[in-house]
Amino acid sequence: MKKALKAKDGDVVVMVGTMKGAFLYHARPGRKHFEMSGPHFPGHSVYALAYDGRAGRKRLWAASSSMHWGAVLRSSDDFGKTWTDPKAANVKFPQQTGAALKNIWQIRPGRPEQPDVLYCGVEPSALFESKDGGTSWSLVQGLWDHPHRAKWTPGGGGMCLHTIVLDAKDPKRIFIATSTGGVYRSDDGGKSWNARNKGIHTYFLPEKYPEFGQCVHKMVQHPARPERLYLQHHFGVYKTDDAGDSWQDVGKGLPSDFGFPIVVHPHKPDTIFVLPLKADEFRCPPDGKLRVFKSTKGGGAWQALKRGLPQQDSYECVLRDAMSADALKPAGLYFGTRGGDLYASKDEGSSWKRLADGLPPVVCVKAAVV
């Protein structure tokens, strides 16, 4: 049912984007019972959602994309009771690029000290920036003009810029990841960009360690340790301790090092979660067992988290933005499947409960403490 969530300060809101609309879930901090609101934007796919709690806001952002009418960014200041509906499209490529927006894959509120700045990552791969709270958007030209861009090629999902990391320490440093293309870093606020893929192996290219062309699926940084980032690659889980200057494979011990999402624990920079899938063609959990794997050592020494998850004949797929953590203690973890199930854990993945089944295919899950 579509209604406003009755969320109070400190509650959890889990935003779920699907191929046919968005669904919102809300719980008190104990996370025993969730109420649902949705579908919002029925019939539209929602690949990107975000919560913006800066400057006293409690704002939800959603990218709704109609196969007929195109994609727009919308926001809600009343937990989904009402949404903005921009008359004119708000994210547009400039005419001279010759490009047209296909989809919006990522929404990233800017740094706390710049509460009116937001970024979004789109398909075809490009970064957009807003400096007026999301009313108007402009193409980040420095990345668009990068000489590598002409040689980026689409992954299975299309050619998308799906990850934006604003460095927690250096206000001029931004990371993005694009499939394919890989990781790029700017140290001057987005004016210039350099590939940062050293050490990431590409079995699908004749050169095994190219400067760019990697198919990064998702990348995360922990704010308490900004030189450390993790990424899930198209085969391979990687870690960097020098802000992307070099990467090390830390996927050894996983039943498969292919997968889409990677999540870093909100309070523990050495703890990460992945969800392995068997092979890049099959894309289902190994042995039909739906398991999240956790490392508390910054990769390696992986532990299977499976209590409450189907351990027989589960042929689900969990996509790159479909897993998320809340910042409560203990942290909550959430993920949604392409089969339309939504799972939640209130004990950092030790046990799981199915919050919903029968949703449209889930493409995005974002949890926030509001």
Binding site: H68, F93, G157
Partner: protein, 99 residues
């Protein structure tokens, strides 16, 4: 009679609720008609054409009941009393699963 444009249900919110609009100024082509429409209601034009002015893949445009994809496209000439239909294509509701 001026050129008439029929607005489909999903786009009426961007056209002050109008089901159809009469265009003054005798637009000579379909594109000129959409530009005139866009000057009044940019939300309609943006949802029919992308930012490069190309007809969106899953939107169909008819002039006097003929699908312009099989004719002159956006350059289809309009009679003074032409009737334009904007309609969502049946292909647009499919569930394309993207990994």
């Amino acid at each position: 009679m001026p050129v008439t444009v029929h607005i489909p249900g999903p786009l009426r919110a961007y056209a002050d609720g109008a089901t159809q609009l009469a265009l003054d100024g005798a637009p000579a082509t379909l594109l000129a008609a959409l530009d005139a429409l866009g000057a009044r209601f940019p939300g309609v034009r943006d949802r029919v054409l992308d930012e490069q002015g190309r007809q969106r893949t899953h939107v169909n445009l008819f002039v006097d009941r003929e699908d312009v994809r099989f004719g002159g496209g956006l350059q289809t000439p309009l009679r003074a009393d032409a009737v334009v239909h904007i309609l969502p294509a049946v292909s647009g509701g499919s569930l394309v699963l993207l990994p």
